[in-house]
């Protein structure tokens, strides 16, 4: 991902040799996903996701807008992924044409937006003239690899957590009720896609990779920044709990045996299940903590 | 192309001598040979590919769309794409502007032939893709467009001509097509070296030209039409020229243009 930060020869040799002997620098197993920590801010749809040293922040917001002419019954949904030098010295401000950044943005786009994770028809207010425009702004706060996976979790957690203000429609007139006045409504989430990224390393010569039968390429899940810098290939699989492949992206890189790629997909599924449950749980708990006084209130009233 | 000083002076002396000697021995009226084939893009209404002997190559696609000509007056649109050049580069925009003027010139394409009904017309989209070019490509492009339009077939209308009262779009025959019968103007590029003026300068000839002329010729009525303008073929040798050469150049085109058009017709 980074062009400017380079890894010293001896360090890269060490890391690759360690991989050959089945060790990772942070002691994880090859197929171990880092622990995901999801925390919510004060407002709905304000999420910070932590995976190791990687931190991604996502903020969901909405406003009323006009739908596209050719799609009058659909609301708008936009994901913006923004890199800033805050995440690491390798990122430039305002330069979004870097190869990796484009791939990253496109994968999240395909995983969440194109796959219809958000019910955009439910965002329609008045067909053809008014609809909700939902925006997910992803900010990378600290980079230690796995941006795609973390961003996807952040966006999905944000969407699930987010609530938009309630509205009343009178013909063409729309009244927006501030969330202090009326209980806001959650967005319609149709499925929860989870991205899992695999990194490939070639421990041998290229000739072995192309012509050999051994399939000794090393596969590592959820690489850290250093591993990302040294990897020969990458695969991002997006799945949901319904055993649906939402998106797969192996845009070149080290050629890999089809069966190994299949086994990656299956590994990704078990991680998907786990992470999905974790997100849903985290949202539930956050709602609960927000409502802890309302329970008190209601119990008083009951008396 | 960067040439050495000695090369340039050799070329200049040859081209400025009386009579002129061109580096490939051509006459002053002689074009380099070209190869053309047409009608190879089934999803376009017309297409052509033209290859010059120096490897310059240009592909033209003609597409059409039914528009309300009372609203949209510009029935011809040209877009030029040169491999390796940005869309807003000088050469692309200059050529686009020139080609648009050539195609929409009063004596250029007969726009009446695009009319379907009292209300609707075909709008023609001319897309030019230049794969490679070594000398100023205007001439090659105009020949490409000429051949592409010559191979253009449009859907046959079956609804009535008078539709001012009718609210519907014109309807077309399911598979019958009609050949588009328009002839687009041809552009001629001429180079001036000393007191000589000649057609179709190659890249090395362009490098030493004192000036250049772009002359448009319409097959309709077979005459020179506007735009006509000077063109700087290089930025080192360029200088003023005797006004008589302008007249000479126009005459040269008047005398030779019809045989170029004929040659393109024989395909």
């Amino acid at each position: 991902m980074a062009k400017d930060i380079e890894i010293s020869n001896s360090e890269s040799k060490f890391l690759l040799e360690a991989l050959r002997q089945n060790y990772r620098l942070d002691g994880r197993l090859f197929d171990q996903f880092r622990d995901v920590e999801v925390t919510f801010g004060n407002e709905y749809g304000d999420v910070t996701v932590k995976m190791g040293d990687t931190r991604v922040h996502c903020r969901i917001s909405c406003q009323i807008s006009q739908p596209y002419e050719d799609r009058p019954f659909e609301g708008l949904f936009l994901i913006s992924t923004e890199n800033s030098p805050m995440a690491g010295p390798q990122f430039e401000n305002g330069n979004n044409t870097d190869e990796d950044e484009i791939l990253c943005a496109r994968i999240i786009e395909k995983a969440v937006r194109r796959s219809g994770a958000l019910d955009i028809e439910g965002l329609c207010i008045v067909a053809g003239s008014k609809c909700w425009a939902v925006r997910a702004d992803v900010h990378f706060l600290n980079c230690d690899g796995g941006f795609i996976d973390a961003s996807c979790i952040a966006v999905m957690a944000g969407l699930i957590h987010f609530k938009k203000p309630d509205i009343t429609v009178h013909g063409e007139q729309v009244i927006i009720h501030p969330i202090e006045e009326r209980e806001p409504t959650p967005l319609g989430i149709l499925h929860i896609p989870i991205c899992v990224t695999f990194s490939f390393f070639n421990p041998k010569e290229t000739e072995e990779n192309i012509k050999g039968e051994s399939n000794e390429e090393i596969t590592v899940i959820d690489a850290t920044l250093k591993e990302e810098l040294l990897r020969d290939g990458v695969l991002t699989v997006t799945l949901n709990k319904n055993r649906e492949v939402v998106q797969v992206s192996k845009a070149g890189g080290l050629p890999m045996d089809a069966l190994s790629l299949m086994s990656c997909c299956h590994k990704a599924y078990s991680i998907t299940e786990k992470v999905t449950d974790q997100i849903v749980q985290a949202v539930k708990e956050d709602y609960k903590s927000r409502n802890k006084y309302s329970e008190l209130l209601s119990s008083e009233n009951a008396r | 192309m960067v040439l050495s000083v000695a090369e340039k002076s050799y070329l200049y002396d040859s081209l400025a001598s009386q009579p002129l000697i061109r580096p490939d021995g051509r006459l002053h009226t002689q074009f380099r040979p070209i190869e053309i084939f047409t009608d190879f893009l089934p999803s376009s209404n017309g297409s052509s590919r033209i290859i010059a002997s120096d490897g310059s190559e240009c592909i033209v696609s003609i597409k059409s769309k039914v528009v309300d000509h009372t609203v949209e007056t510009d029935l011809l649109q040209v877009d030029i794409n040169i491999a390796g050049e940005r869309d807003d580069s000088m050469i692309v925009e200059t050529l686009t502007s020139l080609l648009h003027k050539v195609l929409t010139s009063e004596d250029g394409i007969d726009v009446k032939k695009l009319q379907l009904t009292k209300k609707y017309s075909f709008k023609i989209f001319v897309d030019v893709l230049i794969i490679s070019t070594y000398s100023y490509p205007a001439s090659l492009i105009s020949m490409g467009i000429y051949c592409a339009l010559n191979s253009t077939w449009l859907p046959k209308i079956i609804s009535a001509f008078d539709d001012l009262e009718v609210a519907e779009l014109p309807t077309f025959h399911d598979y019958d097509l009609v050949k588009l019968d328009v002839k687009s103007p041809l552009i001629f590029v001429l180079a001036i070296v000393g007191d000589n003026i000649f057609l179709d300068p190659a890249s090395n000839e362009s490098e030493v030209a004192n000036n250049g002329l772009i002359i448009t010729w319409s097959p309709q009525g077979g005459k020179v039409i506007s735009p006509v303008k000077t063109i700087a073929l290089n930025d080192t040798f360029i200088k003023g020229f005797n006004p008589i050469l302008l007249k000479k150049g126009i005459k040269l085109v008047e005398e030779n243009a019809s045989s170029v058009a004929q040659a393109l017709e024989t395909l």
């Binding site: 044409t97 190869e99 484009i102 791939l103 943005a105 496109r106 194109r114 796959s115 290229t206 000739e207 192309i210 012509k211 020969d232 290939g233 695969l235 799945l239 055993r243 649906e244 492949v245 939402v246 998106q247 797969v248 992206s249 192996k250 845009a251 070149g252 890189g253 080290l254 050629p255 890999m256 045996d257 089809a258 069966l259 790629l261 299949m262 997909c265 299956h266 599924y269 | 190879f40 893009l41 089934p42 999803s43 376009s44 120096d54 490897g55 190559e57 592909i59 696609s61 597409k63 877009d79 794409n81 491999a83 390796g84 940005r86 869309d87 989209f125 897309d127 893709l129 794969i131 490679s132």
Partner: protein
Amino acid sequence: MSRLEIYSPEGLRLDGRRWNELRRFECSINTHSHASDGSSYLEQGNNKVITLVKGPKEPTLRSQMDTEKAILKISVNITQFSKFERSKSSHKNERRVLEMQTALIRTFEKNVMLNIYPRTLIDIEVHVLQQDGGIMGSLINGITLALIDAGIAMYDYISGVSIGLYDTTPLLDVNSLEENAMSSVTLGVVGKSEKLSLLLVEDKIPLDRLETVLAIGIAGAHRVRDLMDEELRKHAEKRVANASSK
């Protein structure tokens, strides 16, 4: 809108193919010998692609120089007239196109022996004259052919093909009607191996069906490789005969 029958009960597709049949595949190399070091023209169904390889050559910019290996640059030009409906934009700098270029560069970076051409630039231009589905595969095939024509050393062929999944039936080498109607998978396969250099899935597909789709895709890609190989050999024989007669 009348629903087209993508796959008839008799097992025929819209264009009359069976599920495991490729589209018409025609290619030729050395089509633009003046303008490039290697070139190809490919027709895969109604996809028509011109590829030009320029280089290995001296880079024009210092930033395009690597002392260890050649720099590979690929630019994809999807012409405005390439689809049935003419598109309004010229597609340059569109994210989708940039993504394609990146994926292609990363595919060929691992296959071309860049290390034997240090300090040079290999500049590839692809022009899509017409597209009718599965364009990524056609781009891969076109580039493979043009690179071979340029005499640039590479480990093996890479052949590309797209496979759709209609209900439970995989359909090999989808055209645009099929591509729009169902999910599809694009593969870039190395030589006659089962190794995938490129694997792209952009729409939902059941996890448990993926393996069959890959299997039929790999078989299709091998067939594409053979077709390319056939053409190359034909061309090579012609040239060798031509040369030795003189």
